[in-house]
Symmetry: C2
Subunit: 200 residues, 2 copies
């Protein structure tokens, strides 16, 4: 019995969504050995706008590489959350960057402050996407954390391996913590800001 798993990553232009999609696709396709198609689309409104990257996973060749009903939706800003949450399946998984997404449109969601973690723990907002990849690897069985780590290290610039490995691990720890707090029936509370330095 074949399966199809659809992921959309979205946010604003500078948040590294496209690199994130490529790393996720390579983790699943090259390191975990499944069929993967990874896509990004641009329209005339693309300049300065929002960014969207999609990853489709299957156990057979993928004929239609565009997402239709999402199994997993990551929103790195409020605008993309509002724009796309209706594409999520009823049982689908919503993950938001709680730094920027404060209005959660559905009752169930994992809220983790990826950008805040990147900023406070690493002084580098640009690793928020890697923090998010770490979290994602703990929240879905579609990718293994080993494959994610291998794919990240293969793609990031030489000399930044330690920073990126640490960012991944911070994301994994934040996700484990969020899972513990998960009740399954209500919005998961965001981690209080003052605990950030210690806990991540």
């Amino acid at each position: 019995m074949s399966y199809r798993y659809e992921i959309r990553l979205s946010g604003s232009g500078g948040q590294g969504l496209i690199l994130m999609g490529i790393i996720l696709a390579e983790a699943i396709g090259i390191y975990d050995g499944k069929y993967v198609a990874q896509t990004q689309s641009y329209g005339p409104e693309a300049r300065g706008g929002s960014s969207k990257s999609e990853v489709i996973v299957s156990d057979e060749e993928i004929d239609y590489p565009k997402a239709m009903k999402l199994d997993l939706f990551l929103a790195m800003n409020q605008k993309s959350c509002d724009e796309f949450y209706l594409d999520l399946k009823p049982e689908g998984l919503l993950i938001v960057d709680a730094t920027f997404v404060t209005q959660i449109p559905i009752p169930k969601a994992f809220r983790i402050p990826f950008t805040q973690i990147a900023r406070e723990k690493f002084k580098r907002e640009m690793v928020a996407n890697i923090v998010a990849l770490g979290a994602l690897s703990q929240l879905t069985p579609i990718v293994s954390s080993k494959a994610i780590e291998a794919a990240v290290l293969a793609r990031v610039p030489k000399g930044t391996e330690k920073l990126n490995r640490d960012a991944l691990k911070a994301g994994m720890a934040a996700a484990k913590r969020a899972k513990k707090e998960w009740t399954g029936t209500e919005v998961v509370p965001a981690v209080p800001k003052e605990e950030l330095q210690d806990s991540y």
Copy 2:
């Protein structure tokens, strides 16, 4: 009347085909303002294998983002040239990296030694993909050289802007030269090796 223009870039794993696809898609979608979908696919055989990146361009939203009949096919190695040339339309454009592709399967093709130019002129094989982007911008009207330059500079690591701009320009110069030599009826001769240092 709507159009659809299909591009496939292919080669071996380390040749930077995916970054090339993203830069090309951003040049056309963000800077030139057309609709673009950019895709890469992986299968269980992906580890250590060949790499393939596709860019579809249209004047309307793209429903099916996978290439079916190619308008433009760039082959950076012999294996991918052999594997995919049959997907080219009869009037389609074939561009090969003459450093690695020596057997040209169809009578019409642009042969430019991208990797050799990168190696001899810049001592950096890794800019072969940027040299190829420069050439491509001269060989197809689907992207402007201005848009390609803006997209390259937005994506390459800080500090490498001059190297990449020079690589683009070397590719443009090589393509202009190849176009002059183009007869339209036979295989375009590769540029003789001994002239490389002077002419690019």
